[in-house]
Symmetry: C2
Subunit: 299 residues, 2 copies
DNA sequence: CTCTGCCATACGGATTACGCATAGGAGCTC
DNA sequence: GAGCTCCTATGCGTAATCCGTATGGCAGAG
């Protein structure tokens, strides 16, 4: 059955005349006559009595009219729902991000997004890149902000990666440290330092980075949070590696010095979506917000 | 938009695959592909993500699914409603009838009808034939049981008349009346009698009938109800004309004698419907009940 | 009795919709 | 990694559908 038939049926019922309904609907009268006949055949009941001065609903037609209006109303509601999704007056946006991205990049982008589209339901999960990829594939998040090192074999087979920015590593030194005045540092110069490291995730980065420079870092303190990590550094208990992404708001007592570009594998930050999954309007808009914020965070 | 599209959409959403849905729906896969494309175009949103192993609802599709199921359910409900009307598991039957018909003919027919179709809502209005015709034309009753005399100019222009029976006039005499033993009577023999008459309607019948026989009836008593009328006759206060239709259950003390056929204009009882208005299944069934009962009431 | 208003139907042309065959893409297996 | 498999998209030819125009028929109104 065609919904047009129901619209025709409703209009004819209201107007009480095929000719009049044809006028307002932009069809010709014979067309409406045929469509009504088709509807009556489909429903197996005569819906109108044809009177010499127009038509009048039969009992069956009266019964159908209520249903037809309910159906047409619901279809209209469906259209409005989809329009709302399209115009971001409704919908949801499920974001995944790695830890450092949640320092400034993601919250700033989310804030911008919510300002423009307050009706979209937002959610965020923090996880490492590998877990984020799994969640993307499982369809549990719509977009993930993740990072990857150039040579790292990130499985992009079912991902769509959109470049956001580079995220260089900085060395966090206590103010007054012997190297705090330097504009850049080489890793080798830090071989004898005591390190403060986060765990469980970021320890791997330090070890890999250090082994590349030919030394094993001496780790005296391992803490869970960035705040604590930098607190230890500020207290002069050691130094630490800090990604630029997480270093936008450092505490007093800390000096940040970039590593030489050749010394450190600079990781790249991407906005990733699941390949083959069409971006929702929310995802598209949020990627734009991310781009905007990332631009301001680039060195 | 075609409702078939929504059915296809729902089935594909449930099965997660066009190929599988095509199997169960009896279409080929390319057909479903095109129908979905058409639906997506109509709704202005992509409804499924095409994955290598089938399809998965997008947010828009998820939103539409709820609406689509509501729409399809309501359409199914509409079909069931119409089926119920057709099978007389629902609906209404509005009957109009003249007074005498309500003595036995109509109530018996209604009782038979209700036994077979207890779900149909019944209603009845009593009125004279002229008012019944008006109500039929106005669509206020579905069927009217009315009576007409042969030469009476009943306006049948917008009516459909179905013959039910003849309704001869009887003379009600008190038991022991000088004429009570007769098999038939001539009107002229009753010229000197005292008459008990009903009002307002049936008085006309008496006067017309009597004038045809050349006398003016002497009316001493006029009462409103049949019961009272026959009560006066039984008490020997007069005689009365009683249509056979109303005489099926007379009281003790009364003798009924038919008038000679040539003496009295025998009126005809019809089941009338409005011409051009298709009979509801209830009307058709009730007419059958009326025919049945009328057959038992014929002399 | 003609005239008018309204619905139903026949007909031709154009659009649509189906099935068949096939291309194309991605995962899985050996 | 080559081939296999499973899925969806698309080109093509045919068949059915649908629309508008023209016309017929019925019933009421003047």
């Amino acid at each position: 059955m065609n919904l047009e038939w129901l619209e025709v049926f409703r209009e004819v019922a209201v107007r009480g005349s095929l000719t009049a309904a044809a006028e307002t609907l932009g069809y010709t009268q014979p067309t409406l006559s045929r469509q009504l006949t088709a509807l009556e055949k489909e429903m197996g009941a005569r819906l109108f009595d044809r009177l010499p001065r127009g038509v009048r609903l039969t009992d069956a037609g009266q019964s159908l009219l209520a249903h037809a209006e309910a159906v047409l109303d619901r279809v209209e509601l469906a259209r409005q729902s989809l329009d709302a999704l399209r115009t971001l007056d409704a919908g949801r946006l499920r974001i995944g991000a790695f830890e450092s991205a949640d320092a400034t990049l993601v919250p700033q982008a989310l804030a911008d997004f919510r300002t423009t589209h307050p009706q979209v339901e937002l959610s965020l999960v923090e996880a490492n890149t590998s877990a984020l990829v799994d969640r993307l594939r499982a369809g549990e998040v719509d977009l993930a902000v993740l990072s990857a090192y150039p040579q790292q074999g990130l499985d992009t087979s079912r991902l769509e990666l959109h470049y956001l920015m580079k995220d260089a590593l900085l060395v966090a030194l206590p103010d007054g440290h012997r190297l705090a005045h330097r504009r850049t540092l080489r890793l080798a110069e830090l071989a004898e330092e005591s390190w403060v490291e986060g765990f469980p995730d970021s320890a791997a980065t330090l070890h890999e980075t250090a082994s590349r420079a030919g030394f094993r870092p001496r780790i005296d303190f391992a803490v869970r949070e960035w705040t604590a990590k930098l607190g230890f550094v500020a207290a002069g208990l050691g130094i630490a590696l800090v990604p630029r992404l997480a270093a936008t708001a450092t505490r007093p007592g800390i000096t940040l010095v970039p590593l030489r570009a050749t010394d450190t594998p600079v990781r790249t930050v991407y906005a990733a979506t699941s390949r083959g999954v069409t971006d929702t309007p929310a995802v598209t808009a949020f990627r734009s917000c991310l781009d905007q914020v990332a631009k301001t965070l680039r060195p």
